[in-house]
Structures are given as C-alpha cells and as structure tokens.
Amino acid sequence: MNDIDRRKFLKMAGLGALFGLTGLSMFEVVTKKHIEAAVEKYKILPNTLTAQRWAIVIDLKKLDEKIINDCIRVCHSIHNVPQIAMQKEEIKWIWKETFEHAFYEMEYPYMPEQMKNLPVLVLCNHCDNPACVRVCPTKATFKRKDGIVMMDMHRCIGCRYCMAACPFGARSFNWRDPRPFIKEENSEYPTRMKGVVEKCTLCCERLEIGKPPACVEVSNGAIMYGDLADPNSEIRKILATNYAIRRKPELGTNPCVYYLI
C-alpha cells in the first residue's frame, strides 16, 4: 500500500514538474507574431537578383593576366579565403589553369603553344546534376532553386566525400584553422573553421543585395552571368550566337559555367 502511494506520488510530481517547467514555455514559444517575424526574415529582399537557373559565361578571348588576377584577388579577399602557400593545403574558390589542363581531353599534339598555355579561370560549375550534392551524407551541400550549389559550413562533418565526387576539383578542405592565413579579414563575410569543405557560392550574398558576382564585376566584361532559363537573358543571347564549351560535359553533371573560345 505504502509502495503504491509512493509510486503515485512520484508520477504526479514528475508530470507536474514536466508541465511546470516546459509546458508553459512550449505554448508561449510559437505565437502568430513569431511566425510572422520568421516569414519576414526569409522574405526575398526587394533588390535581390533572382533567376530560375543561374549560369556563368567566361570569354577566354577577353581574359588576360590582369583580369584573372583581379578576379582571384577580389573573390578570395571578400570571402575570407585563406592564402596558404603550401600546395597540399591550398584553398581556392576561383583560380587559373592552362587550357591544356582545364580542357585536357581537347588537347592534341600539334596544338599551338599559345592555345596550350591559354589561361583559363576555373571555379565551381554549379552543375545542374551535381555529384557532390548526391553524395553528401548530411545535406551540407545542396542545390538551391536558382541552381546555385551551396555549402552549409555549419553542418559539414568534413568527410570529404564531395571532394571525391566532384570531377572538376572545385572543392577545398580546411586542413587546419584557416583564420591565421587570412591577411585582411572582411568582417562582412564569415570565416571558416578547420575541418570543413568550401567552394565558390556564386556570390549568393551579393546577389541577395542586388550586386553581380564579384568576379563578374571586376572582369571587365570577360565574365558574364545570367538566367539560363530565360530565353531573353543576355547570356542566352550570347550562347545562341557564339560557340561555347564546358568542362567534361560527358560526365552528365551538366555544368553551368560556359567558356567562349
């Protein structure tokens, strides 16, 4: 009898504590006001540049050393990409490759030297069918509705499966704390921590406030961007009137960075 009483008492006390401690706050947390505030937070800003399928067109004829270096420098400095001298731990979002390496399958023995060494800017291809997104075990890398392949550096567990999957070598890993390697930190953009993967985000933070991607802005017209799904967009017109190539289209990832040659 005594035993049952004690059990009853414990039950009541437990339930009471549960409601007393959490019950009230549980009902208080989600009110109409909160929902409205949350929706407001995720509303598209009035200046935001939107598209159904963002894409980049790079005109190799217009690229020169200065433009290339400007693109790399600006992109890396505004995104707090560390400058690590050691090749093994290098982090890069956009960088220079020669034509014979960026498009090695097109190389042939008697190719003009000038063509072989033609500088090419390479970056994440923001594929329409991205292998990196397919393999990520935590959805830390994902494709947005506008086609941008994004990274959630707070969710990434650093398994580097995406790096093995990406056929373009577009991804870098923070092999150690990157912060000491950032010369001048841009306080408007987050820095990363060790152990996560990063890459080009097509400047989604700039598109959000109505600015074009940084590389486009400093490229002096050599790099264009726009909506691939819109037949009247500037890049669609360029692609309709010029012959363009893409890196490794045969792999079916459908890269969205086009090169005019």
């Binding site: 969710r155 070598g169 923070n174």
Partner: protein, 395 residues
C-alpha cells in the same frame, strides 16, 4: 561470460598491456590531430582520402568475411566449422568497430558526426554504409554472444536466434557491396568507376578474411587448449585460395579493359600504380611488394602440399592478407585520385602521425578481438567435446 576476460596468464596480460600502450600512443596522436586538424596527415586538396579510408575499406571486407565460415556452417551444416563459427563472428565485431573508428578519425569535424543521423540522406551511399555497418555489428554481437552462451551451458542455441543467424549471413555481403558503391558511383574517378568494383571487393575480402582466420586459428591453437581443428584450417585456406584467384582475375579484367580500349583516363591510374606517371613513382614499390605477396600467397594456397604443411600455410596466409591489405588499404584509394581532375599528379604518402593513429585504431581492434577470443576460448576449453562429439581441446 565477460569475467573470463579478467582471468588470464601472465602472457595474456602482457599482450593486453602492450595493446593498451599502442592504443594510448594512437590516442595522443589523435588528440593532436583533433587540435590541429587533418593537416597533420599526408592528405591534400588533390588526394583528399588516404590511409584512414583505405583501412576502413579493407576492414569492411574483413568484417564481411565472417560469412565464409558462418554460411557453410549454418546453411550447409558443414560440421568442420562448428567449432570456429563464433571465431568468425567475433572477428567481425572488432573489424566493424575499427571501420567506424577509421571513418571517425577521418572526419574534419568529428563532433558533428551525429549530423548523419540528424539529417538522414538516403541518396548518399555513406548514409547507407552507416546503416548496414551498424546493423551488421549488432547482428554479430547478438549471434556470437547467444550461441557462445548456450555453448557454455552445453545447450543447443535457442530457436529464436536462428532468423538472426540467417539475416546476418545475408547481411554480410551487403556491407561490402555498399562500401564498393561508395567508390564506383563517382563520375570522373576512372580507377573506381567500374562495375567490377563490388565483385572485386567481395572476392578480395573473402581471400583476406579467411587468410586472417587461418592465422588466428593457428595462434589460438598455440596459446590455448582449444583446437579449432586441422580440417577447419584447411577449408579456410581453400576458401581463401579460390577467392584470391577470383580477385586476381577481376584485376586482370580491369587491366584488360583499360589497356585494350587504350582510353587514356582509364589507363592513367593503373600506369601510375605499377610504373609511375610523369616521373611520380611513390606507389610503385608498394605495388611491387603487393604483386610479390599475392604471388607467394597464390602459389602456396593452390599447391596442395604447401597448403597442407602448416609452416608454409602460415606464410601463404600472411602473404595473402598483407597483399590484399596493400591493394585495398592504400593503393585503391590513392589510385582513384591520381591524376587529379586537371590531369596533374600530386602524390600521397601517410605521415608518421597518421600511421600512429591508424596503429592505435588497429590496436584497439586487436584489444577487443583478444577479449572476445579469450572469452570464446575459455568457454571452449571448458567443454572437452564439440557438439558433434569430437574432442576439441589439446591436453
């Protein structure tokens, strides 16, 4: 039954302490990696997986190979394996645990490992790998423990365990097939992008696993009174021989496809591994040793007198195990990354710290294996006859 692990000879405790020291060294090295980051390893932007993932891949095979003992015994009532079924199951447990640990030490953000469960992503093969590995671990723990427990009471295993035994057998290949899918579904990695990968994974697993079991059975017979049985050891050796030949054939198929088609991307990693690419030859000696070991293993295991004589058999089993380990534990992973997506070669070699961490994980595996085998052999030593009335202890 755990109490059996607490009573042992001086030799037993020396071995346990030795392993504990190695685990400690590995742990200290890991603490440094945890602090500094994976930069302490030899991995790079271009070879972004290395020794850890190689060990993981190899050990999944070792874990799956328990099926080579359990299947003949439970499906075909192959009596010779009656005594060692539990030896196979108990090998799978530390093997799976080591797999999990190797994945863990390879993570850049290990504290976030639970994100895999928090955000389950069925389109990722890694998610499935986690599911099948955890399932396999639980199944082997359950089956091994229950069967051994009833053996201790000299009673037949309870009937409710039967479905689990059968599920565990069917489950075993899945862990290695899924691990192969981790590699073979990636575009642009020519060395891995081949349908034979899963088949080769299974065959090399069923060559290296039984080879290890041969060695473990010999060690058990030497250091305990329990006799796994000469015929059982011979059967294991034969299993290993057949699958070793299959593995060699599968590799030759791959080489044929690459070189007869003459597709440069397909040939490049194989060329790199066996003769070097653009003057980079770090893995060539590894592959040479691998070929020699596999050749020794094959000759010994397929030649009846050499297989039957246990001195040569031990050498053959060791050569097979090490040969498969070099292939799967190192060259398979590195070969996939060379050349890189720009047709450039950046090589990889594990650092000392990386090797110490790996050694720590292996030691932890062997520590658990020692504990489990101590329990199993103590139970077996107490029962003079096996369930078929054969004497199973050596006086």
């Amino acid at each position: 039954m755990l109490e059996y692990a607490l009573k042992g000879s001086k030799r037993y405790w020396t071995w346990v302490c030795f392993l504990l020291v190695l685990i400690g060294i590995g742990f200290i090295a890991y603490l440094n990696q945890f602090q500094v980051g994976l930069g302490i390893t030899g991995m790079s932007r271009d070879v972004s997986w290395g020794f850890y993932i190689g060990q993981f891949t190899f050990l999944v095979g070792v874990a799956a190979s328990a099926v080579t003992v359990v299947l003949p015994y439970y499906f075909h009532n192959w009596k010779k394996y009656g005594r060692i079924a539990v030896i196979g199951e108990f090998l799978a447990i530390p093997a799976v645990l080591m797999c999990m640990l190797f994945i863990f030490v390879d993570l850049g953000q290990p504290m976030r490992v639970m994100n895999v469960l928090l955000h389950p992503t069925p389109n990722s093969v890694m998610f499935f790998d986690m599911v099948v590995l955890s399932g396999y671990l639980i199944l082997n723990l359950l089956c091994g423990w229950v069967v051994l427990g009833s053996e201790r009471k000299s009673a037949p295993p309870p009937t409710w365990i039967k479905p689990f035994l059968y599920i565990a057998i069917c489950w075993a290949p899945s862990i290695h097939i899924v691990t192969a899918f981790l590699y073979q579904g990636l575009p642009g990695r020519h060395y891995w992008l081949t349908a034979i990968m899963a088949a080769k994974f299974l065959s090399s697993a069923f060559a290296s696993g039984p080879a290890l079991l041969v060695l473990l059975c010999m060690i058990i017979r030497k250091f305990t009174k329990f006799d796994p049985g000469k015929e059982a050891i011979q059967s294991l050796a034969k299993t290993s021989a057949y699958f070793l030949i299959a593995t060699i054939l599968f590799y030759v198929f791959e080489v044929f496809t690459a070189f007869y088609s003459s597709i440069p991307g397909h040939m490049a990693p194989i060329t790199y591994l066996f003769s070097g690419l653009e003057g980079f030859t770090k893995l060539v000696p590894v592959m040479k040793v691998c070929v020699v070991l596999v050749a020794i293993g094959t000759i010994i295991l397929v030649t009846p007198p050499l297989r039957k004589w246990e001195v040569t058999l031990a050498i053959g089993a060791l050569a097979t195990f090490l040969g498969m380990w070099l292939e799967k534990g190192l060259s398979l992973v590195v070969g996939g990354f060379i050349p890189n997506p720009f047709e450039r070669v950046f090589e990889y070699w594990p650092t000392l710290q990386e090797a110490l961490i790996a050694l720590g994980v292996w030691s932890l595996g062997f520590f658990i294996l020692t504990i489990l085998y101590k329990i199993a052999t103590t139970v077996k030593e107490k029962a003079v006859f096996d369930k078929y009335g054969q004497k199973q202890i050596i006086e």
